[in-house]
């Protein structure tokens, strides 16, 4: 056991890091788009949604990973969905207990975490094949990556749309709010723009690698 643990050490750190950047669920895999667009009109909502999703992701990964040997293959997906739906229901009640205003702002999108493809995807592709600790780290990394992406959108949309970040005004009063950024269309534009940035970075890296190869 100890050798297996030490062997997988560099790998486990990798499980954690990959979700943040290289395999970022939103910017690279383009998964789970609905909440990304819908609840990012303020940074606060984006953060809350990201944390809720992360909680469900980590918990469902842990549970799926710990029961992976007892579950016959045929009823696999059904059990995964059951587990995920359970944790989403829990999150729903906990958020209601913490803040009703937040619950109202996120609305049906808390329940809709169930159908977020990222969660079922990680349960099926990773947690059902790996030990508990790497699965938990994978969930944590993917969850953080998701939260990071939501915050990227939330901060930009709130800053331009209401001149504030986390409700604190940063622009002088004469700043004219870009109302469109808070409206649904602003979500599409902002996400499109972020994808542009990521594509440009990728392109530049690929070009640099290409020229390096040529030089060598």
């Amino acid at each position: 056991m100890t050798t297996a643990g030490s062997q997988s050490d560099p790998r486990t750190t990798d499980e954690f890091i990959k979700g943040l950047w290289r395999d970022n669920p939103v910017f690279v895999q383009v998964l789970g788009m609905c909440p990304v667009l819908a609840v990012t009109n303020t940074a606060r909502n984006a953060l809350a949604m990201g944390l809720a999703t992360m909680f469900v992701l980590v918990m469902s990964n842990i549970v799926v990973s710990s029961i992976r040997n007892f579950i016959p293959k045929q009823v696999r997906i059904a059990t995964f969905i059951l587990v995920i739906a359970t944790f989403v229901t829990i999150v729903d009640y906990v958020i209601q207990a913490i803040s009703l205003d937040l619950h109202k702002a996120l609305g049906a999108f808390i329940s809709l975490i169930v159908v977020n493809c990222v969660i079922l995807g990680r349960a099926e592709a990773f947690a059902s094949k790996n030990k508990i600790v790497p699965s938990a780290l994978d969930g944590l990394g993917m969850g953080l990556g998701f939260t990071f992406a939501l915050l990227c959108l939330g901060v930009v949309r709130e800053l331009l749309g209401s001149g504030a970040i986390f409700g604190v005004h940063v622009f002088p009063d004469r700043y004219q709010d870009w109302v469109i950024m808070i409206l649904p269309s602003g979500g599409f534009f902002t996400l499109g723009a972020w994808l542009l940035v990521f594509n440009a970075i990728k392109k530049r890296k690929a070009n640099a690698a290409g020229t390096a190869k040529e030089a060598a």
Binding site: I67, F70, I71, P72, K73, Q74, V75, A78, T79, L82, V83, A85, T86, F87, T89, I90, Y93, V94, Q96, A97, S99, L100, K104, G161, S162, D177, V179, I182, L183
Partner: protein, 231 residues
């Protein structure tokens, strides 16, 4: 179907599938029910606090509140321990009292179609003034920057500090139905001064208030005693 084509996965006995599903089902059920039990009292408390805050907001001067249920043409206090959400066909109003325990007014929920989606409001009715004395938008998806001024615009909110909804001699209809007039042309206490650039949202508020008061006032106005006696 996949077992038919690929022979690789070994036959799994049906009871194992049942065992797995039932086991997971039990575990999930246990988790959900315990969280539900833990959070329900907190959620109920939050709801009650939010409602009370809204009631105080639309009934200036109120320091305590009490929920009433309509029974035919009278109002009775909500029995203790009743569910915090109204049942089917049950109609609730919220009475507010000042520090001395005197009745300030009654808060009523109303809703109607706005520009984008349904607008829900809570308004306070003062018996002394026969007027709406406060309004709070509970839910709206009006366009930010334009329609959502119904929530923030101070000039518009001033309309609801004393909006006349008194009944005419018959006691069945308003003496002056609520009217929405163009910005800056308000002359009478039953008129609402609309917001420029948010005409439809302003009209929606006027419309839903008109409908709600037409329904409630004939029932509510003569029953002041119901709310005072129970103190």
């Amino acid at each position: 179907m996949s077992e038919m084509t690929t022979l690789a996965p070994p036959e799994v006995p049906t009871w194992r599938m049942y065992r797995a599903m039932v086991g997971i089902g039990l575990l999930c059920g246990l988790l959900i029910v315990s969280v539900f039990q833990l959070t329900t009292p907190i959620i109920a408390k939050n709801r009650a606090e939010a409602l009370q805050k809204a009631v105080f907001e639309v009934l200036p001067g109120a320091a305590s509140s009490k929920t009433f249920v309509r029974e035919g043409d009278r109002f009775v206090p909500l029995p203790d321990g009743a569910s915090d959400s109204p049942g089917v066909g049950e109609e609730r109003v919220y009475a507010g009292y000042d520090q001395g325990g005197a009745l300030v007014g009654v808060a009523i929920e109303a809703e109607g179609m706005g520009y984008a989606d349904v607008i829900k409001v809570l308004y306070g009715y003062g018996f002394d003034q026969s007027a709406i004395v406060g309004l709070k938008v509970l839910e709206s998806k009006e366009t930010p920057g334009l329609g959502d001024k119904i929530e923030k615009d101070p000039a518009f909110r001033e309309n609801f500090q004393a909006l006349d909804v008194s009944l005419d001699g018959s006691g069945k209809a308003a003496s002056h139905p609520i009217e929405v007039v163009p910005h800056g042309t308000k002359t009478s206490p039953w008129q609402i001064d609309a917001i420029t650039g948010a005409t439809i949202s302003s009209k929606a508020i006027g419309g839903l208030l008109g409908k709600s008061t037409a329904y409630w006032m004939p029932i509510l106005a003569p029953r002041r005693g119901d709310f005072e006696e129970s103190r």
